[in-house]
């Protein structure tokens, strides 16, 4: 008997390292809750790890919105290894037939999700900035009366494409599950609901007899002091800053305001600032109270990562730069002149 695919759950991969969840699973559960409610199905979190990993994390995932927790615990899954995780995840999907599976576009998610999609021969859309449910009209496929076929309630996977001038909606109407990755910070977590609980379902890892060709010899964790997501004020620079030396000016302004420093992809590519500081579709998404944009022209991929900031000040020499279209305050001028004036005005206030 064929399974009714529209009854399948919506799943979020609850990525953990060393028994800790990052912010991403909670963010994805926020969006997943919305999708599952719209479809009238359960929201599942998938937790994969070593023995006992579900212990402390189950409650957090239920409080973040999951109805059901699918757990695979196995000593061979203690540390992330692509093939082992892929194998276990693929078997789990075959067993449960979820209709949607969402991964964080983290290093782990971007390793695992493509391999899972490849094994299942289903589609995968990277770095979505929004996910919605809607109908898809397949113009290539017509019904008997000649009208185009409509596939109901598919996952609309929305992402900027090709340099960001275009927002594309991608669908995967037939080869389910529908899979997508989403960058950190893009979706909003729900407020935790203390005491909210759900069903825990344990599954086999199916790893017996599977050769895992990778041995992890050593992991050195990096404790980054850069925390853009948590910053109330962000000063960000782009190619227009002109040099790594000039970027110090942005740090001075951020220091004066108690804020953090970010950069556009161009600034990162030019080596003006670290990769961890990149704001945009392929970097971090931020929504600070104040975003001061310096010498950033405003490619849509960058704007996708900052346009929800409460207040945006744009400083740019090009009065036609797209950044001014999303800014609340625009200063057409040289940042090397404007920023020192700003620092001076702030210090006078202090």
């Amino acid at each position: 008997m064929a399974i009714d695919r529209t009854k399948g759950e919506v799943w979020v991969f609850a990525e953990q390292e060393e028994g800790k969840l990052s912010d991403v699973p909670r963010e994805l559960l926020g969006k997943g809750r919305e999708l599952a409610d719209r479809l009238g199905v359960r929201l599942g979190a998938v937790l994969i790890g070593g023995e006992g990993v579900a212990g402390s994390l189950a409650a957090q995932l239920f409080e973040a919105g999951a109805d059901v927790l699918h757990v695979i615990e196995d000593a061979r899954l203690e540390v992330f290894r692509g093939k082992a995780y892929r194998h276990a995840f693929v078997e789990l999907i075959k067993e449960c037939s979820p209709q949607i599976v969402i991964f964080g576009a983290t290093h782990m998610g971007r390793d695992l999700a493509p391999a899972v999609a490849s094994a299942l021969k289903c589609g995968l859309t990277a770095d979505c900035t929004d996910l919605q449910i809607g109908d898809y009209t397949d113009k290539k496929c017509t019904c008997e009366d000649g009208s185009a076929k409509v596939v109901k309630d598919v996952l609309l996977q929305i992402r900027p494409a090709f340099g960001g001038n275009i927002i594309a909606t991608i669908v995967n109407p037939y080869n389910w599950p529908q899979m997508a990755t989403v960058r950190e910070g893009v979706m909003k977590p729900l407020d935790p609901q203390p005491g909210r609980t759900g069903e825990v379902v344990r599954h086999e890892s199916h790893l017996d007899g599977v050769e895992i060709p990778v041995e992890v010899l050593e992991i050195v964790r990096r404790h980054s002091s850069i925390n853009l997501k948590g910053a109330r004020i962000i000063v960000a620079g782009g190619a227009g800053v002109g040099s790594k030396e000039n970027f110090k000016l942005l740090h001075d302004l951020a220091d004066a305001l108690g804020g953090a420093v970010g950069g556009s992809r161009a600034a990162v590519d030019l080596g003006y600032c670290e990769h961890e500081r990149q704001i945009g579709q392929t970097g971090v998404t931020v929504r600070p109270a104040l975003f001061i944009s310096c010498g950033i022209s405003g490619a849509v991929q960058h704007l996708a990562g900052m346009q929800d900031s409460a207040k945006i000040i744009a400083i740019n020499t090009d009065k036609d730069a797209p950044i001014f279209k999303v800014a609340h305050y625009g200063i057409v001028g040289d940042l090397n002149v404007v920023i020192p004036k700003m620092i001076k005005a702030i210090k006078q206030k202090g």
């Binding site: 992330f80 490849s118 397949d138 275009i166 080869n175 060709p213 041995e215 992991i219 999303v326 004036k341």
Partner: protein, 288 residues
């Protein structure tokens, strides 16, 4: 430096997958076709940046441990330009995978076609760029590995060889990991690996005339000047897994971005202008 001792007899057979990409910094709406796919002809085409790092990784393995480097590009005949670049930098052989049946491939179909091509060369090591700048998906590399059942190591920053194993250093986002990986294996390489070496002058002279048959009236050149050409049939790729037919994802809708206009105030780039702005932000408690 006796590094060969850690390699193995005969070195390693390396394959590098490279892609010619539109320079996305120069994309405009006019470069899109009605079906949502990109009109590559309307854009300057470049050697995908991280594929250059992937080629460097393969060349470094060859330099230190011996073996061969084969570059494969899937795409239109114009992609031969980057295959010539690969040859000029030190690749031993170059192959273009080109076929009308491959048109419209999403990452799943692309990785299937490339996996068929890679399999033909029976490599020990496969290197891909982490991601291509036209899609930024980072999906093709891991998917090729899955289809070949090779170990997949993403975000490679450094590599050493130890017999039938690679010792790989990779970025895991929250830190750096060192893995011992059994061959055959595929690696996706980031810019942290290091820049592609410059062309060798004598190779430039030799390979600037290299051509694939499709660039030469269908006739293959002799010897060193030949860029190999492979169709889907040549690599045993099934038609229903290539191109549009083999691509589960569809582009449903494309909208040009309209930037949201809201309250906007222009501030003069003067002491007074900037001071008034700061005062306003202090007054509404945005700063201070």
């Amino acid at each position: 430096m006796n590094t060969k001792a850690k390699g193995r007899e005969g070195g390693y057979n390396c394959v590098v997958c490279i892609k010619q990409v539109p320079d996305t910094k120069k994309v405009t709406g006019e470069a899109m076709k009605a079906d949502g796919t990109i009109n590559r002809a309307a854009l300057p085409a470049i050697f995908n940046p991280e594929d250059r790092n992937a080629l460097e990784a393969a060349l470094r393995v060859k330099e230190m441990y011996g073996g061969t480097v084969t570059a494969i590009a899937m795409g239109l005949p114009a992609a031969c330009a980057i295959l010539r670049e690969a040859l000029m930098c030190g690749a031993d052989k170059a192959y273009l995978v080109t076929d009308r049946k491959a048109a419209g491939s999403d990452t799943l179909a692309t990785s299937y076609i490339l996996s068929c091509a890679v399999r033909k060369f029976n490599p020990d090591l496969v290197f891909c760029g982490r991601q291509a700048i036209d899609g930024d998906t980072a999906q093709t590399g891991p998917q090729i590995a899955e289809k070949l059942d090779f170990a997949a190591i993403t975000y490679l920053e450094d590599i050493e060889m130890d017999g039938d194993f690679a010792i790989a250093t990779r970025d895991i986002g929250t830190g750096v990991e060192k893995d011992r990986v059994k061959l055959p294996a595929l690696f996706t390489v980031t810019e942290k690996f290091g820049e592609l070496r410059p062309y060798e002058v004598r190779r430039v002279m030799k390979y600037k005339k290299a051509k694939a048959p499709v660039e030469n009236g269908g006739v293959a050149l002799e010897g060193d000047f030949a860029i190999g050409q492979l169709s889907c049939d040549d690599i045993g790729a099934e038609a229903d897994r290539c191109g549009f037919a083999g691509s589960p994802t569809n582009v449903n809708k494309i909208v040009s971005v309209v930037l949201a206009g809201g309250d906007y105030k222009e501030v003069a780039a003067t002491d007074e202008g900037v001071k008034a702005l700061v005062d306003e932000l202090v007054a509404d408690h945005t700063i201070g």
